[in-house]
Symmetry: C2
Subunit: 224 residues, 2 copies
């Protein structure tokens, strides 16, 4: 095989920052952030590990770029819609992106080098709120509440990727196993009659809280 990068078809495809970042995102979607190693990303691209360093400064830089990809997937609230549906749509889009890219939860707001999509996103959201009559302090309140809730909800549900109810049930059993029955009666009742109830849907839970927050902000906006 030639020294130059080649894909599986043997056609020469030069490695670029974009290709590297995309491969990294795809890998992290499957293997998580801990499974994201420079060597694995390189292997996915049919390239030597050190080749990546021509296009990214280091692993942190790669992750910064990956986060900006996630921000880029969230539509900007640009239209003339009212602030409330705009914020609701943004919250749902952001949540969907976080579900697609679990590894990004916890990193979205803690990067020291925000990318352009990141800044553009926040600029657009703030602009939407400002033009809807939120003063600066109220923007801060709204943003804290909304993003706190969105990221927090994603975070607390991150490690619950149970597609089937049986899987969920097994996990619950596993967690309670080391403890005597009835030691935690309230928790047991809650888990048994609610979380494990057929048809329980996290997405509905998310939207309930979102409405409470949006209504609370609307009320606060009126009394300002």
């Amino acid at each position: 095989m030639s020294a130059a990068a080649a894909n599986t078809e043997g056609v020469r495809v030069p490695l670029t920052r974009e290709r590297a970042v995309h491969a990294a995102v795809q890998h992290a979607d499957v293997a998580g952030l801990e499974g994201l190693t420079m060597r694995h990303v390189a292997k996915a691209l049919n390239v030597a590990p050190m080749a990546l360093y021509r296009h990214v400064a280091n692993r942190e830089d790669l992750i910064d770029a990956m986060i900006d990809v996630v921000f880029g997937e969230i539509p900007l609230p640009l239209g003339g819609a009212a602030w409330k549906p705009a914020m609701r749509d943004r919250a749902l889009s952001l949540r969907e992106a976080l579900v697609r890219h679990r590894w990004a939860i916890g990193l979205m707001e803690s990067r020291m080098r925000p990318g352009p999509a990141n800044l553009r996103h926040h600029d657009a959201v703030i602009g939407k709120l400002r033009s809807a009559g939120f003063d600066i302090a109220m923007v801060a309140h709204a943003y804290s509440l909304l993003d706190g809730y969105i990221y927090g909800f994603a975070l607390t549900r991150m490690n619950m990727p149970f597609d089937s109810e049986a899987e969920m049930d097994a996990m619950a059993q596993h967690m309670f196993e080391p403890f005597p029955a009835n030691e935690y009666p309230n928790l047991a009742e809650f888990v048994n009659t609610h979380v494990l109830k057929p048809g329980y849907d996290y997405a509905e839970e998310f939207e309930y809280g979102l409405e409470v927050i949006l209504d609370g902000l609307e009320a606060a906006l009126g009394t300002d």
Copy 2:
């Protein structure tokens, strides 16, 4: 030096799980989760790295135990107080614990092996809500909203440990540096006139959102 562990005074102090976990918590408080290596914890205890494995199954098990220490620092809502002040106190205690132990944010709710303090805590909180008239579905709503907000707020503020305003200002400059001025006017206005304003206090921001959520829950409880 004898084969048995000895502290700096030469008095023999047997290594225990508790001592190991405590040292790990202290180390993580300073060095973060990434800086928490088995070798460093061992060094802090004046012990060989592998000695830890007599008391801890592996690094994950150690972290599980550390998380339970954090849960143990949060007072349980036991008294006869009304649910609202009880939930407010719990939220503030939890937030304080997360500020003390930044490394724990993102791990508190995602452990597959919850410890006894963890389960006791959730049991007590659920019990408080139930005895205040929340039905099971309403408990789920309240818990999702409150914990989502608490953890999310902590998360979005995690990497903002700026004690001084000058430090905050420098960080903001640094983040905007690579971009042309006025490319993000709304964001710039927000950062300059609010975040960098003297006297801006994150704690106040947290409590504002907390009141909105508690009021929203109270209203929903009434109309149920």
